[in-house]
């Protein structure tokens, strides 16, 4: 028996002018290009959960023949899903089903929209594949696959559920970046978050020895890969974090992750981080304006933290770790003046990298439900605009056009050669300090 697992890869922007502008923004595009080539850790995990007597092949959607050519037949096809390309995923599923190949859909989007997905699949798996996929494959072998399977929302890294992603399936493919997951979920619980928090009940932490084993395995199949931890918030548990940093340092790798600013409170952690090969941390500041953060987290965590933003950035960056500061445009209290405030903050805080995106109501998030109730969604199922760059709602204090134009102008101001050089220079000055 042979199963094909297909990743809907690549990055997406719907609005033409944005896509065109993107092509001319150096820093922005460079990062886009490198990350676009990341493999699907979700499917490598699904592969690992497949019974060993079943053959598995891994594909990126671009590996497949185009719509006017015939697809190769498999006994079963599994497709993963993020929202932005869900319509492409459904079309692909329909093509396979049309030639008699049964299709299973899984992943973030279908977990949140299972009924919608069922119209295009023989089976839908919600939540993590852990706890669902092994059973599905056994049922399939017996000709008894059911239309719906519920995966685990907790204990996913514990024996019995956990399986080490099959990095060896990437052998021979030109990946220079590999993702490894150390946790699922995040206690901050931001209203807009559409990441793994939506497939977990609470924060799940992978034991350090398993993470290290995964990194070592990935190192065997790629030369000097750059590691991206595909977590929502890596250093939630400071004790675990220090153990992990101590264990990862001797591996001599370069890596990146997503976290929150509480790491700046802990000198010991920062020192370990600097020694560990961590090149960059991505932090969601969301806005430099305190009241814009009100209501974002159940306990207003980010509002309380906002006064410490600049200090935290300095503390982290002074160790030679760059902070990629993320900001959201179109928050409820944002006005046409906000763009300027964000630009000023990014410049004065001397952030070494920044990522500005537009507020995006992804399906299944509290934000989506609120906006739907308030009637501010431009269209109910605007999935192909769920890219973090295309506007799909009416902001409270400006028009859609004002938000789009403000974003374009801000992009031009932030991602140009002059800013790029300023950031380079600032990094070099920090590096010189560290050298002494």
């Amino acid at each position: 028996m042979k199963i094909a697992l297909i990743a809907m890869s690549g990055v997406r922007v719907k609005t033409q002018t944005l896509a065109e502008l993107g092509v001319t923004l150096p820093q922005f595009v460079n990062r886009g290009k490198v990350v676009a080539s990341l493999p699907s850790l979700g499917l490598l995990t699904v592969a690992a959960l497949t019974p060993p007597d079943v053959e598995v092949e891994y594909f990126e959607v671009d590996d497949l023949p185009p719509e006017n050519r015939a697809l190769i037949k498999y006994d079963l096809v599994g497709i993963s899903s993020f929202t932005a390309r869900i319509n492409d995923a459904y079309r692909l599923a329909d093509r396979y089903r049309a030639i008699g190949v049964p299709v299973v859909l899984g992943g973030l989007h279908v977990t949140l929209m299972p009924q919608e997905a069922q119209a295009h699949a023989d089976a839908v798996v919600v939540n993590g594949a852990e706890g669902a996929w092994p059973k599905l494959v056994e049922d399939f072998k017996k000709g008894q696959m059911k239309p719906f399977y519920v995966g685990a929302r907790k204990g996913v890294f514990e024996p019995g559920l956990y399986a080490k992603p099959r990095f060896e399936l990437l052998k021979g493919r030109p990946y220079n970046r590999i993702t490894v997951q150390t946790s699922r979920g995040c206690p901050l619980n931001c209203e807009f978050c559409a990441a793994s928090i939506r497939i977990t009940d609470s924060f799940q932490q992978k034991p350090v020895n398993l993470v290290i084993d995964e990194i070592e395995t990935a190192l065997k199949i790629t030369q000097h890969p750059f590691f991206e931890l595909s977590d929502d918030n890596t250093f939630v548990n400071k004790k675990w974090s220090k153990e992990f940093l101590t264990a990862v340092t001797p591996l001599n790798i370069s890596w990146f992750t997503e976290t929150d600013i509480s790491i700046a409170d802990d000198e010991e952690l920062l020192n370990l981080l600097a020694k560990s090969g961590c090149k960059q941390v991505l932090i969601g500041f969301e806005s430099p304006i305190s009241h814009a953060l009100d209501g974002m987290n159940p306990n207003n965590w980010k509002t309380c933290r906002q006064p410490g933003y600049v200090d935290a950035i300095n503390k982290i960056q002074s160790r030679g770790i760059t902070v990629n500061g993320c900001f959201i445009l179109g928050l409820d209290s944002d006005t046409p003046e906000t763009f300027h405030v964000i630009k000023e903050f990014i410049e004065t805080s001397k952030l070494l990298e920044c990522q500005v995106t537009v507020m995006t109501p992804f399906p299944g998030t509290p934000l989506y439900n609120r906006m739907r109730a308030e009637g501010s969604l431009l269209k109910d199922e605007y999935w192909d605009r769920c890219t973090l760059f295309d506007v799909n709602f009416t902001p409270k204090h400006m028009s859609v056009a004002q938000l789009e134009e403000g974003m374009m102008c801000l992009f031009k101001e932030l991602y140009n050669e002059k800013q790029f050089l300023m950031r380079k220079r600032h990094y070099m000055e920090i590096a010189k300090e560290i050298l002494s």
Binding site: H224, F226, S254, K279, G320, T322, L421, M422, K424, R425, Y427, M428, E429, A431, K432, L435, S436
Partner: protein
């Protein structure tokens, strides 16, 4: 300081820092590619050179300083700019 001694000193500083002997690397070799450096490591090297030679490169030429030759040119230019002040 003559061109040659700048080059020698530079090769020595880089070799020590990178723990890799660079004495025989051709002067026009692209170091970033040769050493397989990511962009931050490249900037670390430039920071090291600025510090050791007590110069400051023009920001506009940073991206071009990728070989021993180009670095030596950059150092002499920066030294000249300083003495012209």
């Amino acid at each position: 300081m003559g061109e040659n001694s700048t080059e020698q000193k530079l090769r020595q500083i880089l070799s020590e820092y990178l723990k890799q002997d660079l004495t025989d690397v051709p002067g026009n070799e692209d170091l970033i590619d040769y050493l397989g450096l990511d962009s931050l490591s490249g900037l670390n090297l430039l920071a090291l050179v600025e510090k050791k030679f007590q110069v400051r490169f023009d920001d506009e030429i940073l991206w071009s300083l990728r070989s021993i030759e180009k670095l030596c040119d950059g150092i002499s230019l920066a030294q000249k700019q300083m003495s012209d002040l």
